[in-house]
Subunit: 358 residues, 2 copies
C-alpha cells in the first residue's frame, strides 16, 4: 500500500492506494463513530454495496445505506436531501461518519452532505472511478450543481481519509477510463513535463488497466494534486491551475446538458482548446499544443469542440467561478509542465469557438 | 463606538457596536468586492432596505437586494435558493459580498448562502433584532431548518464583520425585545453571576430600551459569546454551554410548530426548566432556580412549559445535535455563572415534562 499525505488548513489526512483496500475499510472508521452511513449510487451499490456494508458492519456500529440515482444530472439538492432525510429519520447524531462509495458525483454530494449535516461531520472518500481516484476525491472540494452552473453550491471540506482500490476499475466502462485519463495527463501538462512524457509512453498500458501503470498514474496524480492543494486549499491562486481545460470543459457540459459528455471528456477537449489559446496568447510552442492534442486523442477523448454557438460559449464561460469582473479568466500554459491564470478578451477567444474547426 | 474582537480558527473579525452604524455600512465593504448583495426580509426591508442600499451604493459597486419572506418557517432551502437564483441570474462572482440585514433567520440563511455560494464568499452581519445582536450574529453558526429538526443543515462560517446599531431596536415589537433579553440573561447565568445581578437590577431599563442599559447588555453579551466562541469555534466542549435552555427550547419550537413561540421565548422557558433540572441533578441552590424563574418572568417571557405530551417531549429532544448515543444531554448549572454538559436519564426528566406543573 502507498500513502500520500494531504496537509491543508482545513485538515490533514492520508490517501491510501492499494489493491484490496475496499475490504479493509473498517480500519478507517474512527473508533468514536456512533454509526456509519454508506452513500453510493444504484450502479456502484449493485457491484460493491453489499460487500462494503458487510465489511463496515464488522466495526459493530450500525450501518445505514443510501443509494442516489446514477448520473451528473442528479448532483442536486434532491439527492443531498435523500441523505439528510435518511440520517434524520434514523436520528443519527454528529458522530456519524459518512462513506462516499462511488465516482465524482457521489463524492461531491456525500462530501457536501458531510459538510452541512449538523454543521459538519466526518466522512471518508472511497472513489470507484479513475476520475475520482486521480482528481475529485482529493482536496476537499464538494458541491452540487445549480441549473445555471456546475458546482455553484458547495464547500471546501476535507475528508478523514481517501481509500483508493485500483481493482474496482476493472468494472468501469472503457469510456470512463478515457475520461479519467484526461485528468491524469492534465497533471503532467500543468506541473510535471516528465510525467507527461511518461503518459505519452504508457498510454496503451493505461487504457488496458495494466496494474503497475495505473498505480503509478494514480499515485503521481494524487501527489501533484495534494501538493497543490496543500499550498492553496481555497483556490486563491495556485489551485486554480488544476482547472486547466475546465473553463471550456464546463461550458461543454452545461451547453450540451450534463451527462451528454462525461466530465473528463469535456475536460479533454477543453485542454486541447486551452493549449491552442496558450499558443495564441502566451506563445506556447506549437509542437507542445500538437502533442497535447495527440495525447488527448490517444487516451480516447474528443478533441473537436462541439458547436454551441460562439455567443453561447462565451455566456456559459462567463459564469465560471474563476472570473473577476468583466473578462473571462483561463488557465494557460506558458510551457509544458507550467500553468498560469490569465484574463483573455473575448475577441481573442472567438476564433476557437467557431464551428467546423478541424 | 465599541469594538469586540472575535478570534477563531475560521476567522478574525470585529463586532462594532454603536448608534448610527447602519449609516456607515459602506466602510465595512472590502475594497476588492465586485458587488454587494443585501439579503433582508419583507419587514426589515420595508423599514431599512432603501437606506442601506443607498448607503452601500456609495461604494460605487453594484448593489443587489434579495427579500426573503419573514418568519422562522421560511428558514428553508427555498429561501436559500432565492439568494442563489438572484446571484447566479446576475452572474455574480466569488468576490461578491453578502450583507445580512435582519434578525436571526436572515442572518442564518444569508450566512449559510455565503458559506455555500461558489464554496464560500464573504459576508457581513447587520443584526436588527436584539436576539440577533446579542447572540445569533456572533460566532459563525449558520443553518437552515429541516422538517425533522431546527438548524440541522448548516455550516460554521465566520462573517467579515458584525455591525450592530442599537437604534434599530426602536422599531422592534415589545415581544421581540423580551425574546432577545432571554439570551442576554442567559450569558449571565452560564458565565458571569455579576452580570446576572446587573440584569436583575436593570430589567425595567432594558425593556424600555434605555440607551446606556442596552449598550451595556449588548456589549457584555458579545464579549461573553466571543470569548466562548474564540475558545471553541466548533462546539466540541465549552461552546455547548451557550445552549443552556435550548434543549427544552428547541423541543418547544419544533413541537408547537416554528413561529408559534419566538426562539427567545422558548429559550426563556427552557432555561427555567433547565434550572429546575439543575436543582435535581446537580444540587443547584433552590434560591438560584427561583431567581432565574423570576428574571425570565420579569423580562416578559413564558415560564410555564407547554403540554406536548411527555413522550413527544423526549422524542423531540432526542434529535438535538448535542446528543451522543442513547442519553439526552443537557446544559446544567452547578451554580450561578457556571455551566456544564451532562447526560440525564429520561426518568429524571419526565416529571418536569408532565402537564399542569405550576
Amino acid at each position: 500500500m502507498l500513502t500520500v499525505q494531504v496537509d491543508t488548513p482545513g485538515g490533514h489526512y492520508p490517501i491510501h492506494i492499494g489493491a484490496g483496500r475496499l475490504a479493509l475499510l473498517a480500519h478507517s472508521v474512527p473508533a468514536d463513530a456512533t454509526s456509519v452511513v454508506v452513500v453510493t449510487n444504484t450502479t456502484v451499490g449493485g457491484l460493491y454495496g453489499d460487500a462494503v456494508c458487510t465489511t463496515l458492519g464488522a466495526t459493530g456500529k450500525p450501518v445505514l445505506r443510501v443509494e442516489l440515482p446514477d448520473g451528473e444530472q442528479y448532483k442536486t439538492w434532491d439527492s443531498l436531501n435523500l441523505i439528510f432525510d435518511a440520517m434524520l429519520a434514523h436520528a443519527l447524531d454528529r458522530h456519524a461518519v459518512l462513506v462516499a462509495l462511488g465516482g465524482g458525483v457521489v463524492g461531491d454530494v456525500c462530501g457536501f452532505a458531510a459538510a452541512c449535516y449538523m454543521r459538519g461531520i466526518r466522512f471518508i472518500q472511497v472513489p470507484t472511478t479513475l476520475l475520482a481516484q486521480v482528481d475529485s476525491s482529493v482536496g476537499g472540494k464538494t458541491a452540487i450543481n445549480h441549473p445555471r452552473g456546475k458546482n455553484m453550491i458547495g464547500a471546501f471540506y476535507q475528508p478523514q481519509a481517501v481509500e483508493i482500490d485500483p481493482q474496482v476499475l476493472s468494472t468501469l466502462p472503457a469510456r470512463e477510463i478515457s475520461a479519467g485519463l484526461a485528468e491524469v495527463i492534465k497533471h503532467g501538462m500543468i506541473a510535471d513535463a516528465d510525467f507527461f512524457v511518461w503518459c505519452e509512453q504508457h498510454v496503451a498500458a493505461l487504457r488496458a488497466l495494466d496494474e503497475d501503470a495505473v498505480l503509478h498514474a494514480v499515485r503521481r496524480s494524487c501527489e501533484i494534486k495534494s501538493w497543490v492543494v496543500s499550498q492553496d486549499e481555497r483556490e486563491s491562486g495556485l489551485r486554480t491551475t488544476l482547472n486547466f481545460g475546465h473553463t471550456f470543459g464546463h461550458a461543454i457540459e452545461s451547453g450540451l446538458g450534463y451527462g451528454q459528455w462525461l466530465h473528463g471528456e469535456a475536460v479533454g477537449c477543453g485542454m486541447v482548446m486551452a493549449a491552442e489559446l496558450s499558443v495564441r496568447v502566451l506563445g506556447l510552442d506549437r509542437s507542445v499544443a500538437d502533442r497535447i492534442r495527440d495525447l488527448v486523442m490517444a487516451i480516447g477523448c474528443p478533441v473537436q469542440a462541439p458547436d454551441l454557438g460562439v455567443q453561447r460559449w462565451l455566456d456559459l464561460m462567463r459564469v465560471d467561478k474563476k472570473n473577476q469582473g468583466r473578462h473571462i479568466r483561463y488557465v494557460l500554459l506558458p510551457q509544458l509542465g507550467r500553468a498560469q491564470v490569465q484574463a483573455v478578451d473575448d475577441d481573442t477567444v472567438r476564433p476557437l469557438l467557431a464551428p467546423a474547426r478541424v
